[in-house]
Amino acid sequence: MSNIQYRVALIVALTLASVWALWPRTVKERRRNPQTQAWEYVEVKRVPLKLGLDLEGGIHLALEVDESKGAVADKADALNRAETVVRNRIDQFGVAEPVVQRVGEDRLIVELPGIDDPERAEALVKTSAFLQFQIVDEANTLERALPRIDAALKARGVDLTSATPRTGGDTATPGGLADLLTPSTDTGTNVVQDTAVADTGLIAGGRGGAFSNLLQPGGMPGEYFVSFADTGTVRQYLEMPEVRALIPPGRVIRWGALDENARRSGFRPLYVLEARTIIRGDQHLKDARPSTDPIEGNLVLFELTNEGGRRFALETGKHIGDNLAIVLDDVVMGTPPVIQDVIRTRGQITMRGKPLQEAQDLALVLRAGSLPVPLKIVDVRTLSASLGDDAIAQGKRAGILGVTLVVLIMIVYYRFSGALAVGGLVLYVLITAAILAGFDAALTLPGIAGFVLSIGMAVDANFLIFERIREELVRGKTVRTAVNEGFDHAFSAIIDTHVTTALTALILYQVGTGAVRGFAVALLAGIAASLFSAVFVVRTMFLIWLNRRRGALTLSI
């Protein structure tokens, strides 16, 4: 009895875990607003099953370093730089869940779900990265222009009512402390200056305009924060000619990178910069390396050309105490550090207690802008979303028909026992889907095919068992013995069949790419689930039935 109780408890627990894994949950998704065409963050409630590129539509790219115009010395570094650039640019696309992945030694895989215009994808690779140093607008000129921008928007019919007002107070400054930019002097006596900033939430009150309401002043002059939900609207406003005309002369507005800090805080920085470029990565920057100093902590050392050094010395001399923005492809990378002293050809950016990882990332950004990485596309696949929708509809229909046929065959042929097996099959489908969701595996078209196919194969274990039980019954054994022996004797064949299928699925996974991997993953998940549902669950159901009817002389099988 207690044996059955344990079994039931395990089944119930696994079922609950599966249901929990598949329960619709709220996720933040970037979606295109159908009215404004802007990308926005929306909260949606959905089943956490990810769709593969072939079902959602999108672009898959494989990139390699192009060596046709001369060999690239450090390929690994070149690919690292390329990855930084590509990641940064993809961000501009506003893709929901982009994938940038290193494959093997020399390849970069990029997946952009929901985008099916290959021309745009090529922009990812065709232009080399453009890095520039610009001074953050210390005069805070935008602040004075804000009322006029609000008024211009109001004149255009955009009012407070259409824009969601932000309530200040809960806004922590992403990135926390500003980094320090100090010259590396021979004496090595760098002053570590605390640049902790006032809590931004306090300044937030007292504004009231369609545009200014969306901006939270940041920790330095010229820095603002925009909630993810509003980035689309702000972008839209900034593109309006009326608003553009009002941006202070000689200033440009640039977004901060959508990096870890931004994601964590839910706010994206927006910077007002002096339009003048003081250093161009491709002309003036020679190298940049991450380093760790016992006193300063993690830092990035960079080296400029002689000409770059002259220009930089001049500019940094004028701007001591101001912030320097490192801008890659028009996106401000990291928090602009404070200029501490005149810098010539050698400088260092102190990371102020941030992890080495961030120093490495920043050095990579600098190198990406100074050393161009020629990239080429070696594999491109695009699929329109409509094709994906068709595929989902087809998969659903095929799945429903397939399951119906299997259920019919089972119940017609095995009657009561067949119905038990169908019960096991329901659990099988549930567990397989839960495994896919749990491993965050994307559902692909071949995956659906593999899943449908595996339903036909999952009942194989039940056939082995039921046929065995029938044989034992024919030999004149009692129902209980026949059921027990049927399960026991069929088990070795079941294990062997599952292992051989698992072996092929594993190999398919190792060898396959994208879509075929989806098939292999679905197959593997199915094998694990089938072993549990067809053997353990169905046996438990038999045990319960046998206990209820202790004297049963016949079994409907």
Binding site: L387, D496, T500
Partner: protein, 333 residues
């Protein structure tokens, strides 16, 4: 209870000549065709460009063809796909592929520019593009072949460990037969070899080996139960005993494949076809190929005295002798 093929006692092994003839009839013409014209390989393997285009109004296919060849896309294959408005353009010519070494997107762009110049940008829509550089294609070919070999080796090792090498070898021979027959079938159907189809063939291998494992598992068990029975009768008996399961599993799997064939759509269809055929042939070979081959292997390399595992020397008699002595029909009790 509803039973099919219950308590059968069909002498499957005796029919091996007929089955061999049937297999030869199926495979040999296909093998000749393959030798003459080879296979069609998908873009993934050869490199090249595939574009699926949806036109507002169906243009003349010749018009599309001449537009492309004028633009310098060589020997592009153009087919309608589903509806008359939809076309699939395949540029797999070696020179097209070579042009993609610099950038896999180049030919697709060439095609788009040409079509836009001829029909206008609004006249059509690109539904799907695949541009594969020559290196990627070559790599994929190697990996597909590697996958087949590794999966064979892995299952052989597993079967040798679970049973013993003679059983493993018989199962592998029967499975190789399934693959060759499936390839012949693909040639008859003019199906293209794609990664997806390779996946289908690997699945057929898994399924077919499953089937053999089930039969051999029963053989292993019967070897212990009936020490005096000849291997010939033992095999027949085991095949007969597992026949209901073989047929039932085959039917449910085919039922799901039928669903995929009907509703799965154009992309899934070749995959479903290969699997449908492969599963039929795999079931067939479990009965007609694996058994006779095992019998042949056991005769060719008989077990030495004291060697572990089932078949005793006395069990390896010629079928005729066994039959004369053991008149009891196989499988009955």
């Amino acid at each position: 209870m509803l039973r099919i093929l219950h308590d059968t006692s069909i002498d499957f092994i005796r029919l091996w000549r007929w089955s061999t003839a049937l297999i030869a009839l199926l495979i040999i013409p296909g093998a000749i065709l393959i030798a003459i014209s080879g296979f069609r390989y998908s873009i993934e393997f050869t490199g090249g460009t595939l574009m699926q285009l949806e036109f507002r109004q169906a243009p003349a296919i010749a018009d599309v063809r001449s537009t492309l060849s004028d633009a310098g896309v060589r020997d592009a294959e153009i087919q309608t796909f589903g509806s008359p408005n939809e076309f699939v353009v395949r540029a797999q010519d070696e020179r097209d592929v070579a042009a993609q070494a610099m950038g896999a997107e180049s030919v697709a762009q060439q095609i788009r520019r040409a079509l836009t110049a001829r029909f206008g940008a609004d006249a059509y829509r690109v539904v799907r593009t695949e541009g594969v550089g020559p290196r990627v294609g070559g790599e994929l070919r190697q990996r597909a072949v590697l996958a087949l070999i590794v999966s064979f080796a892995a299952t052989l090792v597993y079967l040798a460990w679970r049973f013993e090498w003679r059983f493993g070898l018989a199962a592998i021979v029967a499975t190789i037969h399934d693959i060759i027959a499936s390839l012949a079938f693909m040639k008859y159907m003019n199906l293209e070899i794609s990664l997806f189809v390779v996946g289908a063939i690997l699945t057929v291998i898994g399924y077919s080996l499953n089937d053999k494992v089930v039969v051999f598992d029963r053989v292993r068990e019967n070897l212990k139960l009936h020490r005096k029975m000849s291997l010939y009768d033992l095999l027949n008996r085991s095949i007969n005993e597992t026949l209901p399961r073989t047929v039932m599993t085959g039917s449910t799997t085919l039922a799901t494949l039928l669903a995929l064939l009907i509703f799965g759509g154009e992309v899934i269809r070749p995959f479903a076809w290969v699997l449908t055929f492969g599963i039929i042939i795999g079931t067939f070979s479990s009965i007609y190929v694996a058994g006779p081959v095992l019998l042949w292997i056991e005769r060719k390399w008989p077990r030495k005295a004291g060697e572990k595992g089932g078949v005793a020397h006395s069990q390896l008699e010629k079928p005729g002798e066994a039959k004369r002595r053991d008149r009891e029909p196989v499988g009955s009790r």
